[in-house]
Symmetry: C2
Subunit: 420 residues, 2 copies
């Protein structure tokens, strides 16, 4: 099994990895364009554009797009994140060409008909409504905003309803022209794939695409903010973030292993303390998310309103304690979980294609799995303790609270306890 990478003269890249024995393939195009590339008045346009891609091209109606892929039992979908928009398909091997043809068509020749824009606006307004009705969605958007106020990376991906109501074909065309250049796109595929075929298809569909300048996203500036909204819900939702390393930082894997040891699995500290010992919550986790220039370690828990003081005190105390008494055994366990998760994930063509695109975009190459494993293995107990100590010393955190949280301790109280 080997990864192959090809770059077309205009900068468009193709990356693939065959997985012997598989009857299906995952293929997609990852574009370096997400919510953080939007100007303030554009907020929500990257996601709107992702929706409009499926609403018809110069030669296909929306129904034809859906029928062509589903006739062969495949599926096609897309997502928008803060730095990326991805369009991907899962098909049986023999239909790889069809999948690439379709994805290329919806990216190169979208129609953006006025009537279809109106219809899709309604769909997106419902998607926003659905997110607003889901406390787990709401609180992470608020946490992002609290951490990065008045910055592109702090805004929601879906955008505000009133902005979504105003988008026009012109806005869609402008964002496409600004961000959908060949240097911003990667065609990635894994499973039963043929690299040469993918390169030929990419040449046919994207070889003529004119480069556009790479977008320079504003550097993220972490802010120690808080957002609290009292609402009559069953649970009080708590989300706390600390500034963390970005993808390219030397201590990226340290942050990953640390988050795993603190709140990754059932044996992690926060799971054990908050759930197993005190029965305070059902969902509790810590995770280290990363962007190009920065990252966030997020801790989330849902509990009863009356338990918020206890939950936040226990959380802060576990963070503090970890700088002094994180053990070698916990570190080794977090490393083992991360490595096994990596290896198991690679058994899925979708996860593998996504990994190829992400690594190529970040590093300009795809490190071998053994290289990633070695970097994880290099994280030891002293590194975790030092990481925790730096985090506590820096004291840079942001907080979001939602539900029966009127009496919950705020960021000042939490920061004070952490520094004490």
């Amino acid at each position: 099994m080997s990864v192959q990478v090809t770059t077309l003269p205009n900068g468009f890249r193709i990356v693939s990895e065959p997985m012997p024995g598989l009857e299906s393939a995952a293929v997609g195009i990852w574009v370096d364009a997400g919510a953080r590339h939007e100007a303030p008045e554009q907020n929500g346009i990257a996601h709107f554009l992702e929706h409009m891609a499926f609403k018809g091209t110069a030669t296909r109606t929306a129904l034809q797009i859906a029928e062509e892929i589903e006739d062969v039992g495949g599926y096609i979908n897309a997502y928008t994140s803060r730095e990326t928009t991805a369009y991907y398909a899962r098909v049986l091997n023999s239909d790889l060409r069809l999948a690439v043809d379709l994805i290329a068509d919806i990216l190169r020749h979208p129609r953006f008909e006025a009537r279809e824009i109106e219809v899709e606006r309604g769909v997106i307004l419902q998607e926003i409504g659905q997110a607003l009705d889901t406390p787990d969605d709401v609180i992470f958007d608020w946490l992002q905003e609290a951490a990065y106020p008045a910055q592109p990376i702090g805004r929601s991906i879906l955008g505000a309803s009133d902005r979504v109501r105003a988008f026009s074909e012109r806005d869609l065309r402008r964002f496409t022209a600004e961000h959908y250049g060949p240097g911003q796109m990667i065609l990635a595929a894994a499973g039963g794939v043929d690299h040469d075929l993918l390169v030929r298809l990419a040449e046919d569909h994207f070889g003529d695409l004119r480069p556009c300048p790479a977008a320079v996203a504003d550097l993220a500036r972490f802010h120690c903010g808080e957002r609290r909204e009292v609402r009559d819900l069953e649970q009080a939702h708590f989300a706390l973030a600390f500034e963390a390393p970005g993808y390219r930082d030397a201590d990226f894997f340290t942050a990953q292993v640390y988050a795993g040891a603190m709140g990754g699995g059932m044996s992690s500290r926060l799971f054990q303390r908050l759930r197993e010992e005190h029965g305070l919550c059902y969902t509790i986790f810590a995770q280290a998310g990363a962007y190009a220039d920065t990252g966030l370690m997020t801790i989330y828990a849902g509990t009863g309103g009356e338990a918020m003081a206890q939950l936040s005190a226990l959380t802060i105390d576990e963070l503090k304690r970890s700088a002094d008494d994180m053990t070698e055994a916990e570190t080794a366990r977090a490393r083992a979980q991360m490595k096994a998760g990596l290896l198991m994930g690679l058994e899925s063509p979708s996860a593998r294609a996504e990994r190829l695109a992400r690594l190529l975009s970040i590093w300009g190459r795809v490190p071998h799995v053994s290289e990633t494993v070695a970097r994880i293995d290099a994280v030891d107990m002293p590194a975790l303790r030092a990481h925790a100590a730096r985090m506590i010393e820096a004291g840079r955190s942001a907080l979001a609270l939602y539900g029966p949280v009127g009496a919950a301790p705020g960021l000042a109280a939490l920061s004070q306890r952490l520094a004490a």
Copy 2:
């Protein structure tokens, strides 16, 4: 690749399927015990028991259980449904024995300590709170209750909070004794597995387990009920169910393909009509769920409160129309999606192990994939039209509405429109 099945003298079954080339395995025990096997005063105990399994055994604390599996990078989890409780793990091949040892221990020797029961009660009450804050969870529980009122199969899996507050060790022991016999259990594994090793481990851990009589669940009686609750939410949630075939019914696959054609993918009728043409909703789907003796075809959509009349009228009209004009192309597409979904699912060890257990439990054997494919292929357009006509003729449906639904048409209006 071939499936192997072994039955121990006490009725305990082992089923496995090797997947060459995989470095990991999925293994679990599926128990024929779920919410529908509970007496009214037991509602929620199957799920409570699933939680308590992880809270300590005769020889392991909760922390040791978590550490043992996570030390090797594996994970262990469980779920409870209306007919099944499953305990499963994902590990690298070399740790298969460890995973089986652990799962066997938590099933055979749970400790049910009073203190741990109290702690876990708190966790489950938070899980219930989380579900109540999630409209998508709430509405499907209500739909189930509307369709099967005052019946075990109609009750929620989590149980009501006041019942969960009352459960004791005695309740847990009673449900275990009634439903966790060797004839109710299947050890299933897929990936890098060794059947002979699995059989030896099963003999060691379960060979001495005394049979208990198979539970006879009350036959489900579908009821044309409605539940509506007005609440200040962004979206109005609509869930409509029709009585459908059970797993063992001759027309099980007809119902599956029909649901796919109506609301399975992007090209399906309801997706096209409600979302692509009218922009009424973001989430819209139809699916045919099945139990041992019956099934439910469920249609779900979330929309704005003012659009409920239009949404339900369009839905009913599409159902009616399908009995007359469902095409061969739509049928073929739904078949293709179902077959490709099956084949792609089989590339995941977890999905494959789950399939082995489910089929063995239903049929007493594991039909070859080609047999399932042949049954799907046997569903043609006339079968779908006839299925729709029977469903309309029978007119047996149940409805749940949640959110700004004060003015939404009720079940009587929908049934009248369907019959008109």
